[in-house]
Symmetry: C3
């Protein structure tokens, strides 16, 4: 697959990228990080932002990225919108397509929605998170942030990354393990059995429920957000129990090697997945992740919408 | 009335337009449909969007239109706004006028509000729907869509249009029958007696409660949205009863001549006013209506705000 | 303190300005009031608008001002935002800072928040109202409006201004009395004892609970908004009682000298702090206050963000 064509209908999944394609996007993001803030690369492009699930970081990040490239963003408040009431997803997105936009950035609880929407409407669609499926812009910003800290993308080779928490429901985990594999990093999934997907993952991924047992082996601890409803669903016995075994407490943090870095996609609820002192420590890359999100999304939007835009 | 002056204080009602005035707007919309997307015709113009009733189609359509012309849109979330609480409509709009905007696009449940607001504030006001009174930009986009399908505006002459549904509460119906009359089309209003206005309409309009009886005569079936509260208000006995007599079911659709087109202002609730297969059929112009809304509103905004803008 | 440095980290309090600094801002606002609407003085600047309390006037006013200067505004709907749930204020603002904005306009119920946020993030912060502490842009627009009416800023010297109402909870009163003192005006605070701050104010301010007794001495009556919850809090016995002693009724209005002007920061609840006929009278400057807010905020944003913006 020629990489230049890979994203021509949109960017739904890390599976659309080979190493060369990912490298090209990350190189471009590096360029945007150091370049001027206002560009006219997407002048005249209109992008609809369709967030069916609440989001602040991802939504603002995409909006700032589009605006810096000169594109116009049309926001749909999906919850209060009349489009969302009594209409099917297909009706809703076809109506929005009728306004004549060039494409959409979509967050949805339905796995596969972005690709489906692209097929329905013929428009370019960028995935801002779909159900428990994929969140590819998050994976790219995580790779960017790691390579920035390590000095190069090549340094990712052989890196040992532990992704800790609610793996079963995490689109972030799915996209990130794909991305890490492209660059030769080794992923270990860490979760209680109830939050681990029932079927095994790709052969290049290890899985364990023993966080303490693998602490000493990790170069990166990537913590996932834990949603409160998991208790009501009977998936974890209690928060106390979860914290005791899977939270990155100060005590566990001390047992990590000094050069180990901490990541989290946000929003962090301090005291749950990670201690607030740990998330504020110098080893935490959380703020860098947020900052780099803008640059990476500029690269994604440029790639998807920058060529063949029709006036 | 010289047509160039007709909209100089705003566009509240189809009654402000003669045939020449409507033609001029539709010709301009045609130009925008085929022209470049970014124009600077309204550069420096500031328009407040004041939607006291929920809207997605109309609101987004006006916003996209204004943005493409280079105008700035200032949104007021009228429901949560402190302006709306405890202040009279007059206080609210006078405050907004004080910000120094050039004019407003207003949707309100109060019939006559746009003209009143224009008088209070001295600003140009475009009606985006006022109570059961008028929705003139909708009528113009409907005329545009019909003429696009038929090949010319002249082809509207003698066209038989059935407007079906809740006529009594419909600003869409009022504006559309005015617009159709300008071009010599013949309107038949189709509704149960309880959803037909108590007083007669203009002499050029026919009214019937027998949808099946007039099916064979129609060139256009224009379906109105039916709101659920009509049952609670005792205006229709049940949804089933309504569907049985006034919905454009597949069975009724088959009895239309093949060239008959289906229109609906949206949002469509499939299964109620019209069967979902019918609304998706090639004879349905619903998506074209949404798309053309942007072009027609560009023409309206240019006409209203394009001349005599004061800096 | 060299005035040009006074606002370099933001504008939190009237205390940052000496008379020369305030004059310079007001002169610049006068320039914006008569100049062209679109300027590129802040091209490329990105400002986050963070309103943790509901606002329409102030928020829109800042947004219009920023847009006219060419800056981009990034809105955070603080109430529904995931940033606001379960995150501390510091987490929230540091995340927003991570997006790479140049600064923030902040409204918060926490006194001192703007200065604190500036220290946390290193960003320039403009105060759009913090608790019962300060609302400096309101004070400047009030001074602007008064000087416009009187013909000059020098005419403020010796002017007798009565600020009437809920002084204890009013950031508007605190900022305004500071601003009036810079220009030699004399402030009298008028409130029942329960709505007067327990500790005395600066020596240049008089306080009384006898509105009727000082009516004849005033050149300006500045009415504050009274919030309904003050009754539930036991601070005023009833609305009727308040109106009887502190509302600017028609009867009291007639006892003012003809040249006395009426001001109110809005939103006005007619019949409470002031009679609706009085607020609509020619002596009322309420609409001018709203209009001038845009010009004054242009001057503030230009001063804070116009120099040393880094790309």
């Amino acid at each position: 697959m020629a990489n230049d064509d890979a994203l021509k209908q949109g960017f739904w999944s890390m599976g659309q990228l080979d190493r060369q394609g990912a490298e090209s996007l990350l190189r471009r993001a590096r360029h945007f990080a150091s370049g001027p803030r206002r560009l006219d690369l997407l002048d005249g492009v209109e992008i609809a932002a369709l967030f069916f699930e609440t989001s602040t970081r991802t939504r603002v990040s995409f909006e700032v990225a589009a605006t810096r490239l000169g594109a116009a963003v049309i926001n749909f408040d999906s919850k209060s919108s009349s489009l969302a009431k009594g209409e099917s997803l297909q009706d809703t997105v076809e109506t929005i397509a009728s306004f004549g936009v060039d494409g959409m950035v979509v967050r949805s609880s339905a796995a596969g929605a972005p690709e489906l929407i692209s097929r329905w409407t013929g428009l370019k669609v960028v995935n801002a998170g779909d159900g428990a499926h994929q969140h590819p812009s998050q994976a790219l910003l995580d790779l960017f942030t790691l390579s920035e800290r390590l000095g190069s993308l090549d340094a990712l080779s052989g890196l040992k990354v532990g992704i800790v928490g609610d793996i079963a429901h995490s689109r972030v985990a799915r996209s990130l393990m794909d991305g890490l594999d492209l660059f030769g990093a080794e992923t270990t999934l860490v979760a209680p059995a109830t939050l681990m997907p029932p079927r095994g993952f790709a052969p290049y991924v290890r899985a364990t429920s023993d966080f303490d047992g693998c602490l000493g082996d990790l170069d990166v601890v990537y913590l996932l957000r834990l949603q409160q409803e998991r208790i009501g669903q009977g998936l974890i016995p209690s928060f106390g129990e979860y914290v005791a075994r899977y939270s990155l407490t100060r005590e566990r943090h001390r047992r990590l090697r000094p050069e180990v870095v901490i990541m989290h996609p946000g929003p962090v609820y301090p005291g749950m997945e990670v201690d607030s002192a740990v998330i504020a420590a110098e080893s935490s890359l959380v703020r860098s992740q947020t900052r780099n999100g803008v640059y990476v999304r500029m690269a994604i939007l440029e790639k998807v919408f920058g060529a063949g835009v029709m006036e």
